[in-house]
């Protein structure tokens, strides 16, 4: 099942003109606030009625302005997890969870209530009222409520933005499970590169109401033209496999035949993980550096260099196991003579692979059909 969106809408001075297609999995709408992400999600949900457009989920067309077709929200069979949980305060948690089931059409395939409640760990909350829940609990109930309505697509508009770091870490794994167990396709809005790195199968980058780039996560995240030069959060995703855990507190991973050392991860040997490697944590050297403290040195090939207007430069590298980015100064790029095709060594400090950057495997770069996403990334790997 795929999601296809083409919208045109004007809101005062703001013009939304977005078009993209995404395969199954988690599609992340990524961009600054005000770039039109929420408008796109609301249009898919039917909460915003765009002037023109076509939206389809699998074979179901939700809107087609050329045919004058527009389904109201309650007939779209989508789940929506909002930034604030929006639980019904006058109902118990259990009643909130079952709310969508009261209105599900006869014959609809509904997920098993017990399984969803167990997955989200909210079994003990059923008799409580929303006012008695913590922020994280509320958001888990909101996810459960949306899932139990049996949606064909789950929408999530910055579902973690209102939570503190600890609560974010509590909720994020549930979205990973939705992706990994292929329970339901997800359209997820965020401005956090960390969330993109952990969740995205497909990334749609929004800017000023338009789609700047859309494509498989690994491709878009390692695109030096997409990742903002000034952001400390910019970074790409590498897929690695856990090899062993060592007594000194480090875990040994393997990516493309090369060893990577990271602080102990909670995953059994053999598990595949997504590592987010922040561009600012990657140092470059022409020769293989000797006698340095950094544990991870990867042989790479420069594939693209992008000079910004400031002193910085973003270098895209073909590393074992995928593509990564390195943010260095323009002066260094010149001094090293970095040009596409040059072989270099990327130095990663082990500690730079932050714990919260380690996510479940997902299908970051190898999603089946992920290459169908349009428009293609300009630096598409093909």
């Amino acid at each position: 099942m795929s999601l296809e969106v083409a919208l045109k809408h004007r809101l005062g001075d703001f013009r939304l003109e977005a078009e993209f297609a995404a395969p199954e999995g988690v599609t992340v709408l990524f961009g600054r606030s005000g770039s039109g992400k929420t408008s796109v999600v609301n249009a898919v949900a039917g909460l915003l009625r765009p002037e023109a457009g076509r939206v389809s989920v699998g074979a179901r067309v939700l809107q087609d302005s050329s045919r004058g077709l527009w389904l109201p929200p309650h007939r779209r069979r989508l789940g929506y997890v909002f930034q604030e949980a929006r639980l019904f305060p006058h109902l118990t948690v259990g009643q909130n969870l079952r709310f969508g089931r009261w209105f599900a059409p006869r014959g609809a395939v509904l997920p098993d209530e017990g399984r969803v409640i167990e997955m989200l760990g909210i079994g003990a909350l059923l008799k409580r009222r929303p006012g008695q829940l913590s922020g994280g609990e509320r958001q888990r109930v909101a996810i459960g409520r949306a899932l139990l309505a049996g949606p064909e697509l789950l929408l999530a508009d910055e579902p973690l933005a209102a939570l503190d770091e600890a609560r974010k870490a509590e909720i994020l794994p549930y979205f990973e499970r939705l992706r990994d167990e292929a329970m339901v396709p997800v359209l997820y809005v965020t401005h956090s590169p960390a969330e993109v790195a952990r969740l995205a199968t497909t990334v749609v980058v929004m800017e000023d109401g338009r789609v700047r780039v859309a494509g498989p996560a690994a491709e878009v995240m390692s695109d030096p033209h997409v990742m903002p030069l000034g952001s400390a959060e910019a970074g790409a995703v590498l897929v690695a496999r856990v090899v062993a855990h060592h007594a000194d507190g480090l875990s040994e991973l393997e990516a493309g035949g090369h060893a990577l050392w990271v602080p102990r991860v909670a995953a059994a040997p053999g598990t595949e993980l997504r590592l987010r490697i922040r561009a600012q944590d990657v140092m470059l050297a022409l020769g293989r550096p000797e006698g340095i403290s950094a544990l991870n040195v990867l042989p790479c090939t420069v594939s693209e260099v992008r000079r910004g207007e400031g002193p910085g430069a973003m270098v895209q590298l073909q590393a074992p196991g995928g593509r990564i980015l390195s943010r260095i100064t323009g002066r260094s790029a010149e001094a090293l003579g970095l040009v596409p095709g040059l072989r270099v060594h990327a130095v990663l400090k082990a500690v730079s692979v932050a714990r919260d950057s380690v996510g479940g495997r997902g299908e970051a770069g190898h999603a089946k059909g992920a290459g169908d996403a349009a428009p293609r990334s300009p630096s598409g790997r093909g």
């Binding site: 109201p72 789940g79 019904f88």
Partner: protein, 230 residues
């Protein structure tokens, strides 16, 4: 009932009946109009708002007289209604109608405030979960505005209990028929030596008003706690 004279007792019972019916019958209309004023933008919205509030501003005698002009047995509307068996003039039903109209603005205001306080985002969420408009109203909006409805109903009931000017103008002051509690107090005041009866009726008025207020407070608090999700 030896404490109150039969006539006074009749007036109390009639007033309770009039106020109860006035409140119950006008409640659905009150909710509908409050919702329309709070949520919908339509031509004539300002006019409707003014019309609803008119009884609050007009002298009650004028409202009563206008009712008599339109719904009296010899008036066109009143005549038609009489043909189909509905008579308001000089009946207790007329007293209920007058009281209902006089109390209507208070009811609408209270309910409208509570509707405006409802977070539309919750209704949107209900829509994305598959609830059609009408069901969103019944399962989300209505329970959330329940405290406002209770407050509006109690306010309207109290106002209907005390309505005097429009009632006496429209349906007169017939003991056992249209003599409500305030009309009875007024009538007893005209009779020399009936001060004792007046005092008793005043006491009854105060007790009923306080009881209604206490009930509203209690119900309102219970409902508000429920609605707030505690």
């Amino acid at each position: 009932m030896g404490w109150l004279s039969p006539e006074a007792w009749q007036a109390v019972a009639l007033s309770l009946r009039v106020a109860l019916w006035a409140t119950l019958v006008s409640l659905p209309f009150g909710i509908f109009i409050a919702f329309a004023l709070a949520r919908w933008r339509f031509p004539g919205r300002g006019l409707l708002n003014g019309l609803v509030h008119l009884p609050l501003i007009l002298p009650p005698v004028v409202t009563g007289y206008l009712l008599l002009l339109t719904l009296g047995t010899r008036a066109p509307v009143g005549g038609f209604l009489q043909d189909i068996g509905v008579v308001f003039a000089f009946r207790w039903t007329g007293a209920a109608l007058a009281a209902g109209i006089m109390a209507f603005p208070l009811m609408v205001r209270a309910i409208r405030l509570s509707i405006e306080a409802v977070d539309v985002k919750l209704e949107q969420a209900a829509g994305t979960l598959g609830a059609p408009r009408g069901m969103v109203f019944l399962t989300v909006t209505l329970p959330l505005i329940l405290p406002g409805i209770v407050a509006g109903a109690v306010l309207a009931f109290a106002k209907a209990m005390g309505e005097f000017g429009a009632t006496i103008t429209f349906v007169s002051n017939i003991p056992g028929q249209t003599q409500t509690l305030p009309s009875a107090i007024y009538a007893f005041l005209q009779v020399p030596g009936a001060e004792g009866e007046v005092a008793k009726l005043v006491l009854v008025s105060v007790v009923i008003a306080l009881a209604a207020l206490a009930l509203a407070e209690w119900v309102g608090r219970a409902v508000a706690a429920r609605v707030a999700g505690r």
